[in-house]
Amino acid sequence: MHLRGLFGTLAPAVLAGALVAVPQAAQASVGVGIQAGPVRLPGAAHPGQSVALPAVSVVNVGTRPESIRVTVQRDPRGGGRPVPRSWVQPGVPSVQLAPHRATRISLELVVPAGAKPGAYLSDIVAIASEQLSAGGAHLGAGAATLLEFRVAPDPAPGFWSSVFTQSLWALLVVILLAVVVFAVRRSGLRVRVERKAAGYGTADEYGGWHA
């Protein structure tokens, strides 16, 4: 009798717990999102150069914490040269994200020395991948955005070349001015300035004053 009473008391609570737990288990989902705008390198990359790409934003839209990684995949619709996967290195192998949390993942583009010039196009894909569950089929979600950049035909400029380019014009101007000043001094050219005396003295031919 006592047990029956206890069961009667606990049964509603157990039932309520089950009703809450079952839908949660049934609604468990894996989900991932990525920025809609393409990852685009301003300017061009050069063979043999490593440049930072704009960071890519990813979000966990599933119901559980997820390990999200980004990788490069060939654009299934083609167009442009495909980007080899090894060229793009994420700052971290993967990020752990709680549900409905977003973060940005840095990307570095490493263009090998022998890269062919041209326009490159592929997908940056964020994939939510958790541990394998037992048996059956394991379902995953991914989201992609475009990766676009151009490789210029010339090799990457070196340090000295960069310095030279930046200060080339400045250096030429300074040299030109120095040459002009030197020429003026050597030629003996004089600038004659005439001013009327103000009463305290007279101006000499050099524009100086003396009492």
Partner: protein, 235 residues
């Protein structure tokens, strides 16, 4: 006077150096008092997202291979109610004929497309087995099934998906392909809030290495939200 000229030349030269090298000071912050007000507003979701529910499903309705290697009921290699047999055993997640499609695929955010591909089937836990690779019965020579009549070959398997609107199940493989079952009337085009229910058929290999002992496997199927092409973006 000469010194004056030299000084003037240095000043002009310095000015040109600064001007040409692009070195300049930023504008000072505006001074004085000012008033401000904050305006809060919302935008649509700018992420492109894909959600799959549930996260894992069990394969059921196991059946043995079909012609030309019909397995007699006495064949010890035939599929059982709980396990896939060889060669070419099958199992199903859902039932297209009876309208059971247990996997829900949801697309959200900016418009795009839903693509799908299958990954390797891997032995579970510490079990020993060579991964099975998804293959294609038609086209895609690089991933073609090497078994008889386009059936999976050695360590290969096939995956087909279906939805309530699809007339037949569609084979998918390791390459990301348009999931025509997501929107049978519009290809795989997807816009904000589009949802589809899907199911899967799996078929195992013709043969596996004799050294494999794994009896529990997991196959991967991944749906991906793809952006419009560059041409579409530029419109």
């Amino acid at each position: 006077m000469r010194r004056l000229l030299v000084i003037a030349a240095i000043v002009v030269g310095g000015f040109l150096v600064i001007h040409l090298s692009g070195v300049s000071a930023k504008d000072p912050p505006p001074g004085g008092h000012s008033g401000s007000t904050a305006v809060t507003f919302n935008t649509i979701q700018t992420y492109r997202t894909m959600t799959v529910s549930p996260t894992a499903v069990n394969c059921g309705h196991y059946a043995s291979g079909t012609t030309p290697n019909n397995l007699a009921s006495t064949n010890p290699n035939r599929s059982t109610k709980k396990a896939m047999g060889f060669p070419w055993g099958t199992c199903a997640v859902g039932d297209r004929v009876n309208g059971k499609d247990p996997i829900t695929i949801s697309y959200n955010g900016m418009q795009g497309y839903v693509y799908v591909h299958a990954g390797w089937a891997m032995p579970n836990g510490n079990e020993v087995g060579t991964p099975w690779r998804p293959c294609s019965s038609a086209g895609h020579r690089a991933v073609a099934c090497t078994g008889e009549n386009g059936l999976p070959g050695y360590n290969q398997y096939t995956v087909r998906n279906f939805s309530p609107q699809s007339g037949t199940a569609t084979q998918i493989n390791g390459n990301n392909v348009c999931d025509v079952n997501f929107q049978p009337t519009r290809g795989c085009y997807a816009k904000r809030g589009d949802t589809q229910r899907e199911g899967l058929y799996l078929r195992g290999p013709s043969k596996i290495p004799g050294t494999d002992t794994a009896q529990s496997w997991t196959a991967w199927v991944i749906w991906t939200a793809e952006p419009p092409s560059v041409a579409d973006n530029d419109k």
